[in-house]
Amino acid sequence: MLFNSIQYPIFLLLVVILTFAARKRDYQLKVLLLASYVFYAISGEFFLPLLVFITALTFYCGIWIFTAQNLLHKRIYLAVSIIGALSILGYFKYFNFVVLGLDQAMDALNFSLAIQVYNIALPIGISFYTFHALSYVLDIYQGKMTPIDSFKEYALFVAFFPHLIAGPILRARDFLPQLKQKVTFTSENIQIGVTRIGIGMVKKVVIADNIAYYVNLVYANPDVPIQNSNSFFIICATILFGLQIYFDFSGYTDIAIGSARIFGYTFPENFNLPYFSQNPTDFWRRWHMTLSSYIRDYIYIPLGGNRKGIARTYLNLIITFTLCGIWHGAAWNFVLWGTYHGVLLCAHKAITTQRHIYDRITLISKTHFGLITKILITQYFIFMGWILFRVSNLDDIIYCVNKWIFIDVNSILSGFTKYSDILKLNAVFIGIPLIVIILLSRKHLKSSKIHSLVVHDPVEYLGRLKLNYWGVYLIVILLMILCLAPSRSPEFIYFQF
C-alpha cells in the first residue's frame, strides 16, 4: 500500500478508530501490530513470515546477549543475530549482484562458472526493518539498553507501519519507551500529524512526481539514449533529480512522521535543508539523518572512527560510505555513489585539518558571498553524486559526469534560448514569488507570523492554527493534490531499497 494512494488515508482512519476503540494499552498495541502486519502483507509479495522471523530472531538474541555469562557468549549471540538478519537481506538483495559479479570476473579470467541467476523478488522495506532490528541487539550488546520482556512491543517497534517501508530508521532505545504509554489521541497531535501528512503529500505528488517526468525525459527515455543528451539536458536533469529525490524522500518521511504523530508517537527527523549544507560533512548531518547517524554509530565508530590516526580515519570513512552505498541497492552505481561520498568526506577532512586553509575558509564564510560560495561548491559535488545514484550504466555515468564537469557552453546557451518560454514562465510563477517571500521575510516581517512560518517550524505553526483557518489550509492542500498531481504517481524512490 502506497502512502500516496487513496487507500492509505482510509487505512489510517480505520486504524485510528480501532485504536481509539481499543482503549486499553495492551489492546491498542495488538491493534497497531495487527494493522502493521496487514499493511505489510498488502504492500507487496507475501513476505510477512520473513519480517516475523527477523523480529523473533533479534528479540530472543537480545535476551540471550543480555543474560549471557561471558563476553564470548555475548559475541556468539550477537553474531547469530547479525549473520541471521544480514544473510536474509543478502540473499534477497545481493545474491544476483554477487553471482553476476563473480561470473563477470571469472569470464575475464577465461573461466566459466555457469552460475544460475534466479528471479528473486525483493521484500519491500527489508533494508529498513533489518536495520531497526539490528539496532536493538547492537544497543543491548553495547550496554546502551536492556532487552524488553514484551515480544508484542518489540514486534511493533520493528513493524510499525508508518516507518516499516522506508524509515525513518528508528533506534529501539528511543522508540520502545514510547510504547509503554497508552495511546491517547489529542487534538494537538491529530492536527499536527494531519498537517505534516498534507505537506508530505504535496512534496511527493505535486512536486517530486511532476519533476520526475522531466528527469525521465533524459534519464529514462526509451526513445533517446542518455548519450544523445548535451550538457544542458544532463545538468538540468541532474539538478531536477536532486530536487526530485529530496522531495520524494522527505515527503515520504513527513507522511511517516505525521502518521506516527496522530498516535502520539515521535519519530526522529530525517532531513534538515540538505541543499543548504556548507560541506560534505554538513550534508550528511542534514540528509537522511537517521541513516547517517546509524552508520556512524554502528559501522564508523566500531571500525575505529577517527581515533586511530588520519589514514585509518580516511579508510573508515570510505568503508562506511561504500557500505552505505551498497545498502541503497545491489548495483555498481550505488557502490560508486557511496565511495564517492566517502572520498568527498575524506577530502573535506583533509582540508579542515590544514589549519591555515581552514582559517581562511572560516574567515571567508563569515561574509554572505563566502557562505553562498561554500554552499554552491558543496552542492556542485553533491549533485554530481546524484548522477552516480540515478544512472546505472557505467558508460552513461562516465558520459554524464563528463558533461557535468566539462560543460558545453554552446548547448547551455542554445538550451536557454530554445526553452526560454518555459524558463520565463517558471521565473514568473516560481522565481518572483520566491524572491518576494525572501525579501519580505528578511526586511519587514522578522517578528511576524509569516517569518515564524518560513524560518521556524511551518508544521507546528500550521498545525496550531484555529480550526477554521486550519480547515482552509486543508482545502488548499487537498486542492493542490487534486489539481496538480500527475495522472500517474510513481512509487517512492526509497521503496526499492
Binding site: V194, L467, N468, I475, L478, L482, C483
Partner: protein
C-alpha cells in the same frame, strides 16, 4: 472535552474534503471539459458513438480506419460519390485517429463488429508495427474507459498500467482529468509554450521537409523488427475477429513522400512486408503511388492528394465489396 475537540477536527477534515472535491469538480466542469472537446481522444469517443449509432441501422457501410494519414487522405463524400457512380450505395466513414496503431484500434474492435460494416480498410504504415516509439497514449484509454469493451485476448495485449486505465471507474476518470488543468488554463490565458503556431499550407517547403526528414527521432522511422510484438498480435486479432464476423478486411500501406521513403531502413521495409505477407490479408502498397506535390509534409496528403486518393480508392476496393 478532548473527545468533542477531536470530533470538531474530524468534522473540519470531512468538510475540507467535501469542499475541495466540489471546487475540483467545478474546475473540471468549467475549465477542463470544454478544453477536452478537442483532441485525439475526442476522435476516439466519436468513433465509439458512431459504432453505437450505426449498430442500430442496416445501411451498408465502409469504414476507413488507421492513423493520421487516413484522416488526411479520405474524403468520404468523394468516395461515396465514386461508388454511387458504379451503382454501389454505401455510407463511408473516415475513422482515422492520430497516432493510431493496431493495439490502439483494438479497443474499438467490439464496436466495429457490432455496427456490422461490409468492409473495413485499415490504412497505416511501418511505424505502427514497431515495438518501439509507438504506444497507446494514456488519454486515449482513460478518457474513453467507460466505452471500452475488450475481449479477453485484446485485454491480454495491454500492460498492467493500461488495463488499470481501461478499468477505471468514473471517480478515477474525474481524477485523471486533472492532468489537463494546466494546459486548459494556459489555453484560456492564451499562453503558448514552444513558439509559433503551425500554419497549414497546401504543402511544406522543400527546406521544411528536409528538416523533418533529417530528424532521426521522427516516429515514422520507428524500426520494425522481425520478432513478434503486441502491435502485430493486435493486427492479426483484428483480422481474425473481422473475418469471423464476415466483415471484409483490407490493408492499405499509405503513401509517402520520396524523402521519407528514402529514410526508411531496408530491414524495416523487409520485416514489415514479410509480416504483411504472413498475415494473408489483402493489401495495397501505395507507398510511392503519389507525387511529392500531393503531400502536405512527408506522410500526410494535402487537399490535392486527398482528392486523388479518394478517387482511386473505390477502383481498388470494388472487388472486395459483395
Amino acid at each position: 472535552m478532548q473527545f468533542s475537540e477531536i470530533l470538531k477536527i474530524a468534522l473540519t477534515i470531512f468538510f475540507a474534503i467535501v469542499i475541495a472535491l466540489i471546487l475540483y469538480i467545478l474546475v473540471i466542469s468549467l475549465v477542463v471539459n470544454p478544453y477536452l472537446e478537442q483532441g485525439t481522444w475526442k476522435l476516439i469517443a466519436n468513433n465509439f458513438n458512431n459504432y453505437q449509432n450505426e449498430s442500430l441501422t442496416k445501411n451498408p457501410k465502409i469504414y476507413f480506419i488507421g492513423n493520421s494519414q487516413v484522416m488526411a487522405a479520405v474524403d468520404t463524400n468523394l468516395v461515396e460519390e465514386r461508388l454511387a457512380n458504379q451503382n454501389r450505395s454505401y455510407s463511408v466513414y473516415n475513422l482515422g485517429v492520430n497516432f493510431d496503431t493496431p493495439l490502439q484500434r483494438s479497443i474499438e474492435l467490439t464496436g466495429i463488429i457490432h455496427s456490422k460494416p461490409e468492409l473495413v480498410i485499415y490504412g497505416d504504415s511501418y511505424c505502427s508495427f514497431s515495438s518501439r516509439y509507438r504506444y497507446v497514449p494514456d488519454d486515449n484509454l482513460a478518457l474513453v474507459s467507460d466505452k471500452i469493451h475488450l475481449d479477453n485476448y485484446s485485454r491480454s495485449l495491454f500492460d498492467k498500467e493500461q488495463i488499470a486505465l481501461i478499468d477505471q471507474n468514473q471517480f478515477d476518470q474525474l481524477l485523471f482529468k486533472r492532468k489537463f488543468i494546466i494546459p486548459s488554463l494556459k489555453q484560456k490565458m492564451g499562453i503558448q509554450i514552444g513558439g509559433r503556431d503551425v500554419v497549414v499550407n497546401d504543402t511544406l517547403t522543400l527546406e521544411e521537409r528536409e528538416i523533418i526528414a533529417q530528424n532521426p527521432y521522427d516516429e515514422f522511422l520507428a524500426p520494425v523488427d522481425a520478432e513478434d510484438n503486441v502491435q502485430k498480435k493486435a493486427f492479426i486479432h483484428i483480422r481474425d475477429e473481422l473475418r469471423k464476423n464476415n466483415i471484409s478486411f483490407v490493408y492499405v500501406h499509405m503513401p509517402m513522400d520520396t524523402l521519407r521513403v528514402a529514410t526508411i531502413p531496408n530491414t524495416t521495409k523487409a520485416n514489415y512486408f514479410s509480416f504483411l505477407n504472413s498475415t494473408g490479408v489483402q493489401y495495397f502498397n501505395l507507398e510511392e503511388s503519389y507525387p511529392d506535390e500531393y503531400f502536405f509534409d512527408l506522410v500526410h496528403l494535402n487537399k490535392y492528394g486527398k482528392q486523388q486518393y479518394s478517387s482511386d480508392m473505390p477502383e481498388l476496393l470494388i472487388k472486395e465489396l459483395k
